[in-house]
């Protein structure tokens, strides 16, 4: 089964990744991570986050993936040892020296970072000799090349399926250091590939800025390579992004598992992903062939959103109550609603929030694809006429996504089997996830000697079952409940409040068991 690996730059993204279907999550600590600019996690916080993820069946991979000096190695080793003790499932490593120190000494797995530039079987074999059990392959491999490496069976493999691409091989790029003194090998890459360059006689453009990767349309082919995990890039991206991308790829992988990928509407999913974050669309990177000229976003290297329509004629600016606004006639190819954000092609600082929509002379909440209307936007107008614009924020989508990672959200349910039984005067409730079983016990209410046990009526049994199944607000869903229990005495002397107490206690115990590294 191909795992889905999602990024967690901070606590909200971690929840977003878990609740939207990640099988594994990768995150960094406050030191020694290749995304020093992310919020990251303290060691103190890590134990609770690992517990949260493990209870919900998600593994945590900790990125310690920069190069280290002699002075830093002992500190890095100590951090890893502590994170290992707290239950981390794997460490993603770039530094050969750190790998040498950790091999055989930590319980967690060691994964070779993409910064180790593994791209052939010789690299895989050397990584295995270093003590790694998984390699994050270089992003520049084609699907065929990925398949060959997986078929070699040397170790687990992981490939990127979505997110930002580097123009240059990771781990071999000194450009950041050369232009700014900030090294990609130290987690402080200054993203020099998103700057403007020119060749001898040309003008300046973003020659080294590729569009983001999106493998969703051919996810079945990528999964068929036998790769162990598909990785979503984005520790510096928002929780909305993590929620959107994780859920889209979860649906994709589930459809592959169900044999229904042909019916999977990847185009609709890609539109949502483009709104949340894209750079002038997406590309397949090097997975389906060489990167093409059209895959290089030479006009603008940052977020563009989903192409939504075009202004008809010019925009007219005005001010109201001290607020800058502009109005224009828009022809749209995607739904646009009040509260959505837009920006204009090649002028990302021009645009704003849609304030008012008028269609057919009347105010409307939205403008549907293929329609034209008059839009009032709170922001700065572009110069020029007939300018394409992008939807950079979808209010309804954002509300839908943020609901998935709000505190207390429990969208993913771990199926558990419940059974109620009695031994002497004690009633037991057992919950099992197939690997761990937790039991709670309570003393049944006693009856007078000689008094026959009252046979619980079917109504009581049904209500009792409902009490056992009422695990809403927890990560568990009772999918199998042996009710009514085979033993007719099991429900005798049992009250609803007793069952609630048993259920809560069993849930807590099962959660505790699942917090451990499985």
């Amino acid at each position: 089964m191909t795992h889905l690996l999602a990024p967690a730059g901070g606590p909200e993204s971690l929840v977003a990744a878990v609740q939207n279907g990640a099988d594994e999550i990768y995150l960094g600590l406050r030191e020694f991570s290749a995304r020093a600019g992310a919020e990251n996690f303290s060691l103190e916080d890590l134990e609770a986050r690992i517990g949260y993820a493990h209870v919900r069946g998600v593994r945590i991979n900790v990125a310690v993936n920069i190069l280290l000096s002699d002075a830093e190695l002992p500190r890095a080793e100590a951090l890893v040892a502590e994170a290992d003790r707290l239950g981390a499932d794997a460490f993603i490593i770039q530094d050969t020296g750190l790998a040498r120190r950790l091999a055989g000494k930590v319980s967690a797995a060691l994964h070779a970072s993409t910064q180790m530039t593994v791209m052939n079987i010789h690299g895989l074999r050397e990584a295995r000799a270093m003590g790694f059990s998984r390699a994050v392959l270089a992003r520049e491999l084609s699907i065929e090349e990925i398949g060959e490496l997986c078929a070699a069976g040397i170790m687990e493999t992981e490939v990127f399926c979505h997110g930002a691409l580097c123009m240059n091989y990771s781990g071999q790029c000194l450009l950041g250091y050369a232009v700014s003194g900030r090294s990609g090998n130290r987690g402080t890459c200054s993203q020099p590939c998103r700057l403007r360059y020119r060749r001898r006689d040309d003008g300046f453009s973003y020659l080294m800025s590729p569009a983001d990767l999106c493998a969703l349309p051919y996810l079945d082919r990528l999964a068929a390579t036998g790769v162990s995990a598909l990785k979503i890039e984005g520790r510096l991206k928002s929780p909305d992004y993590v929620a959107a991308v994780t859920s889209a790829y979860r649906r994709g992988l589930d459809s592959i598992a169900a044999g229904t990928f042909d019916g999977f509407d990847s185009a609709a999913e890609v539109k949502k992903l483009a709104t949340v974050f894209s750079r002038g669309g997406f590309c397949s990177g090097h997975q389906l062939g060489k990167l093409q000229l059209s895959d290089v976003t030479s006009g603008y290297p940052g977020k563009t959103g989903l192409l939504c329509g075009s202004s008809v004629g010019r925009c007219s600016s005005f001010e109201k109550n001290g607020v800058r606004l502009f109005k224009f006639t828009a022809s749209v190819t995607e739904k646009l609603s009040c509260g959505d954000g837009i920006s204009f092609k090649d002028s990302p600082d021009r645009g704003g929030v849609v304030n008012v929509i008028e269609a057919d002379g009347r105010r409307a909440d939205s403008l549907l694809p293929g329609r034209a209307g008059v839009i009032t936007v709170c922001g700065e107008a572009p110069s020029g006429a007939d300018v394409p614009f992008y939807k950079t924020y979808d209010k309804a989508l954002s509300e839908e996504l943020s609901a998935t990672y709000k505190p207390g959200a429990e969208l993913r349910k771990i199926p558990v089997a419940a059974s109620l039984y009695r031994s002497g005067g004690t009633v037991f409730l057992a919950l099992s996830d197939g690997k761990n079983t937790a039991e709670a016990a309570a003393e049944a209410l006693s009856r007078a000697p000689g008094e026959a046990a009252a046979a619980p009526d079917s109504g009581f049994a049904e209500k009792a079952e409902n009490v056992i199944r009422a695990t809403g607000g927890t990560p568990f869903a009772v999918t199998v409940a042996a009710f009514p229990p085979e033993d007719p005495e099991a429900l005798s002397g049992v009250t609803f409040s007793m069952l609630k107490h048993l259920r809560r206690e069993a849930v807590e115990k099962l959660a505790k068991l699942r917090e451990r590294r499985q």
Binding site: D70, D95, G97, M167, G171, L175, A178, V179, L207, L293
Partner: protein, 292 residues
């Protein structure tokens, strides 16, 4: 000791002066050996490029033997491909037995290359790293091995003879690390040098990808990228795979009037030397122009 990296064997010619005879290690890119330019897909031109390469080497060795004592003759190491996949890499492996005897060893561009060369030499000459004359090929790890601490260098102990330290470290930090290297590996420090600072699967010269039909100059002089501050990065392309390298300067230029890099080799004060630190000097890599 001193080393330099050359992208073309033309730089070995006598018309460039014989100063390279003073190098201890000369590293040569395999790109001209395996491609000879855009038309390299035509077999006859590829062969002529290999012949020219061999002639340059033979002539240099003859001049070196005439000018130097045997132990002072520069060692010439062929670089493995900068990108360890694709047609160039496949050609390197296929033709290895033919060209390997021309060289004293190999400088490696990927962590998998040590095992690769061990395998190729065993297949071609009977034992890992065995040369046809019974001697042993030298192996050097280039800056791509990302060596920034002693532990990383220790990993390669017993397998590499020379190992470059990552040039993102300051010259002083490189020298300090070099002092602590395992005794059986010669550390290499990059002084003011032109180095490969990026490796891209994408052709940065033409921007069209393989077979785009928009090819311009290709090979060793494929143009340059210039940033908005006027910094220039030369482009070297591989015409077989349409990949590219950017070359740029590493380390600061030596201070005016410093007279070169002699200061880099001065011993550290005793209190800064780790007990058991090596006392022999490192290899200092510099541009071939610095030899002149």
């Amino acid at each position: 000791m001193r080393s330099t990296f050359l992208f073309s064997p033309d730089k070995l010619s006598p018309s460039r002066g014989d100063s390279l005879l003073d190098a201890d290690f000369i590293y040569l890119s395999c790109i001209p050996l395996l491609t000879g330019g855009r038309q390299a897909r035509e077999d006859s031109l590829e062969k002529s490029s290999a012949r020219a390469f061999e002639e340059s080497l033979t002539d240099f060795r003859r001049r070196a033997a005439a000018a130097k004592s045997p132990e002072k003759v520069p060692k010439i190491l062929l670089s493995t491909p900068f990108i360890s996949k694709g047609r160039l890499f496949a050609g390197f492996c296929e033709k290895f037995a033919e060209f390997a005897p021309l060289f004293d060893g190999f400088i490696l561009q990927n962590i998998g290359d040590a095992a690769l060369i061990e395998k190729l030499t065993a297949e071609a000459f009977g034992a890992p790293l065995a040369k046809p004359d019974g001697k042993r090929f030298l192996l050097a790890g280039d800056t791509a091995f990302n060596i920034t601490n002693r532990e990383s260098a220790e990993y390669w102990s017993g397998r590499l003879d020379v190992l470059a330290i990552l040039p993102e470290l300051t010259a002083a930090a490189q020298q300090s690390l070099a002092q602590t290297f395992p005794g059986n590996i010669i550390p290499e420090i990059t002084a003011f040098s032109t180095a490969v600072i990026t490796r891209s699967e994408h052709c940065l010269a033409a921007q069209g990808g393989f077979g785009c039909g928009k090819c311009g100059p290709c090979g060793l002089d494929a143009g340059r990228l210039i940033d908005e501050r006027g910094r220039r990065f030369d482009i070297v392309t591989d015409p077989l795979d349409c990949t590219s390298l950017l070359l740029g300067r590493t380390q600061e230029a030596p201070p005016a009037g410093s007279g070169g890099f002699a200061g880099l080799l001065s011993p550290l004060p005793k209190e800064h030397v780790t007990p058991g630190a090596r006392s022999s000097s490192a290899v200092i890599r510099r541009d071939s122009g610095d030899f002149m």
